[in-house]
Symmetry: C3
Subunit: 446 residues, 3 copies
Amino acid sequence: MRQLRKAGIVFATTGTGALIASSAAAQEAAVDTQYILNSFLFLVGGFLVMFMAAGFCMLEAGLVRSKNVADICLKNIALYAIAGIMYYLVGYDLMYDGVEKWFGTFSIWNAAQGAPGGADIVGEAGGYADHSDWFFQMVFVATAASIVSGAMAERVKLFPFFAFVVILTGLIYPISGAWKWGGGWLDQLNFQDFAGSTIVHSVGGWAALTGCLILGPRLGKYVDGKTRPMPGSNLPLATLGTFILWLGWFGFNGASQLALGTVSDAVAVSRIFANTNMAAAGGAVAALILTKALYKKVDLTLVLNGALAGLVSITAEPLTPSVGAAILIGAVGAIIVTLVIPLLDKVKLDDVVGAIPVHLVAGIFGTLVVPVTNPDAGFGAQAIGVLAVAAWVVPTSAIVWFVLKLTVGIRLSEEEELIGGDAAELGLEAYPEFVDGVPDGGRGVA
Amino acid sequence: MRQLRKAGIVFATTGTGALIASSAAAQEAAVDTQYILNSFLFLVGGFLVMFMAAGFCMLEAGLVRSKNVADICLKNIALYAIAGIMYYLVGYDLMYDGVEKWFGTFSIWNAAQGAPGGADIVGEAGGYADHSDWFFQMVFVATAASIVSGAMAERVKLFPFFAFVVILTGLIYPISGAWKWGGGWLDQLNFQDFAGSTIVHSVGGWAALTGCLILGPRLGKYVDGKTRPMPGSNLPLATLGTFILWLGWFGFNGASQLALGTVSDAVAVSRIFANTNMAAAGGAVAALILTKALYKKVDLTLVLNGALAGLVSITAEPLTPSVGAAILIGAVGAIIVTLVIPLLDKVKLDDVVGAIPVHLVAGIFGTLVVPVTNPDAGFGAQAIGVLAVAAWVVPTSAIVWFVLKLTVGIRLSEEEELIGGDAAELGLEAYPEFVDGVPDGGRGVA
Amino acid sequence: MRQLRKAGIVFATTGTGALIASSAAAQEAAVDTQYILNSFLFLVGGFLVMFMAAGFCMLEAGLVRSKNVADICLKNIALYAIAGIMYYLVGYDLMYDGVEKWFGTFSIWNAAQGAPGGADIVGEAGGYADHSDWFFQMVFVATAASIVSGAMAERVKLFPFFAFVVILTGLIYPISGAWKWGGGWLDQLNFQDFAGSTIVHSVGGWAALTGCLILGPRLGKYVDGKTRPMPGSNLPLATLGTFILWLGWFGFNGASQLALGTVSDAVAVSRIFANTNMAAAGGAVAALILTKALYKKVDLTLVLNGALAGLVSITAEPLTPSVGAAILIGAVGAIIVTLVIPLLDKVKLDDVVGAIPVHLVAGIFGTLVVPVTNPDAGFGAQAIGVLAVAAWVVPTSAIVWFVLKLTVGIRLSEEEELIGGDAAELGLEAYPEFVDGVPDGGRGVA
């Protein structure tokens, strides 16, 4: 329903005959209640999605080696901050303000906002508070940026990464977002992406893929045709991150209904909660069984990625599937991701946390599978949406990464990479007492 | 109020005289608002309880030795996923659909669900969205399963444990649940268990107790009549887990009011929040003082378990006590648990995280203390409920564990247990850089 | 709006002419809806603020050395419990019950509370459930206490610290709180402090400052005119704590609107969410850039403290600023804090986690900057409020700390401090397998 955002919300109306004053007041109270509930849904959904920034941070901090943990923590909290500022300064209006086909206006959001509580604010947004909508949209752009940090971890330099985040969250994401959620050409084509399998997850995934290709793999990852495992330093932290992401996804998908003012909205949000949960459950169980069958042992990180793959897969359409279908969609998404992950190493694509399979591959799958449960969607429009976003994000990301590479450089020096980003760029250690200087799997070893 | 679930919610009605059309519409809006608020309470409560899965995971990951941390993380995320799928396939309808005395129907939940937002869905549930209720009930069954994983940690095999979870969440929990919350014989007897001291926590606790007895203690735990301490590997993680459980309990108890559509519901949910918090506070402080008095030093894990004991104790009746009474109930529960924990070692019952005292013993206490503050409850019915659930869960769990033991085996081999579940079953380490291969308190030592 | 708390909430009323019975009922339903939404805001805001206790705990556990981690975890969970009990027994009524100028009554909160759901409870509070308000106010006092534990970590004794928490949460905080939020003399003077830059954060900050001065720095921190770095043991945990605090702050500031029953409340809460987030973002980015400029390397902990400084700075007035102004307020607060932190070491003030700059200094700044965006506030009244709170908290805290110092002692013995609080007071280790007994940066080293 995301594309209805700017269309405003149609209130249930009743007979317009000769209402007496008192019942008109009661009607008004009901309209007010809808306004409040819509806004409150954005706020609750918004804080849940905001917390996903912590989820990505913990997932990535758990999956990198200890010498890069503080560095990835810094990247994650700073990218969330930068994303908000850029979306305020440029992104929001570019995505939502006066979009016809391609993009909106270059302007600061709501620069002319009136005094707090003023009627102008109430009126202009239709059925919810402006700031609640802005807050909810803002946390989505941060999600896209979070995807990039994990894939490129352990070797990308701090400030060039932040420079990319500035462009991604200020320009790249908002423009393709405008095509669909801003009511632009993809929306007019009836492309369907309820909460952003393509508009958020694939955008982040394409940007991560492009960045990884330009950046190259970690030192020592692929040597003499063999792949060296570089195990994550703290798996319970990665598990916590996955649980936090799972939690946040209730806000991500649920509040993308964009309204809670009617019974039918409450039914929809409830369906979305159940389906979101069960797609993740299907993904986790599918990855569990598949990895056991393939490898005899069960890799915890593959199960975590299976749950996340299920979540990404259901994001394009969490409303129309039955619970059973949601389980299946999540399971198939997880199976695809589980099979794709080892292929990346074959082509020497070094994605530290599996962000590209989880967010890009499952995002594409989730987008293409929409017509199976949603009769209003068509396979053609879905495919066009997937390809159009690729055709936009890959070249623009590549240009930004190349410009950064040719100017300030995007990669740590060999020596810096060996000692780790924490020592090289932050001058500290994430776990100064747990890890000694002796080479033992992480520090000082490529 | 949980037993009213399927009875629907009675809307406050007013004069049924000659309503004019417009005010009838306003009335309808008010009924709609109640429907929305009831559903929203389920969703907010539901995501809080869902997050308890992360709480259990962190608590258990912090209290096991490092060689079993990834294994317990995998168990926790997978059991949450399995619980949801089984509850969908079997459990929900068995617990709630057409229960007369013992159990409902064997059927997939809501298999015939209509199109999203259709009037059939709105109508059939009375005063809330079907899926919101289902989501909220589902997270409860996962809680029961989470209790088992902690008690049996560090030696139970992965897939036999999952097989047990399948039966527990698909059959054992739903059937005793049907007796009370499905409106079955315990409910007809006026057994009171507001949010599940017995129906959730004791069920998990009995299953854990039975499993621990059949599984036996960890290697080297009890040698020559002495108990060897096996300290948890990461206490801040255990503390985080406790905080997350405390947070989630507001949803667990608060949304078990099952409605937020009236002023009286809002008052009730608010009382429950305050009482839940203060029972935990009473439990933490009582455990703090008691352990200081008993042992001179204060054991952090006993204080964490004291808070949890307070939470379990108030769960059977979080509404009727005054705040002062809630503090006392929590404190007494924590004192009992603090005194029981050392007794387990005396009988060589090896419960890794203290799940049996916290969830079973405090669950029994909480159930039996209900009549003290709730005049509608009687001690006899409470005792019958406690005993009936024991008489159901212990033998059924025992049968499942014995069948698993005799067929696939339920315990790691001695060698596997020595190297730890992570290396044996997952082929990885949770903290590859923090813990070296040399025996130093955990790895490679029984 | 916090000062309106006890004034009750004025419901939007309409024509009082000859209402027919049915529309009167509809009106009543609307009033009920407001009551429910107001209460629900308190509950949602309350559980978010409750979770800040976990945020403080993780932040502090990550920033102390490993030998004091379990000790700081225990302090954090116990102080949250103690704060609730004291606020129930003494604090709430002292802060809110019948305040004229200085303080309210010495009585247990709501000792005469009626049966659950009774009309007396509904009626007496005006527009929200008593217990929802109490719960929300209670979590604030715990926040103030959390600030103290971090600053004084690694050397203050456990039970003397708890004794201070008893006095702080039962007497000191409630009395200065009464001056403003209880409607006392500061409120009558038009002092403005929306969510507590002064009333919560500065109170905690002054108490921490006083405690640190009386307690003295950690052994070996300042030797021969040089400051020895004592790096935190677990930076991802500190990052997680910061994210949790950021999350909780939406409840802290947002629900301090104290109402969600009208459109204008929904607009206000939404503005507050956006502004709170963007002040933190501004703080994080400002600290990032400033530390890079000053030190060439970026210190993760300074960026975390920058985000927190932004949050504290916006807390006195999160409603009136535009989003752009909120970013600036957060950025300036963070710049001040970043510059103040190194000054503390110059004067040998050993604040382990930077709590005094973040909560006291940014709290003062946030309070004084209110008139810039809020025309109803005046610089004079703001300055008087800041000074008055200092003049109250510093001497009373000093008396308590001195009495404790002269009676039971407040500081670990030198030997205890060297082996760490965990071994000395708890008889355990937080990470028994990660840190061996050999001096390597933390354990056994001053």
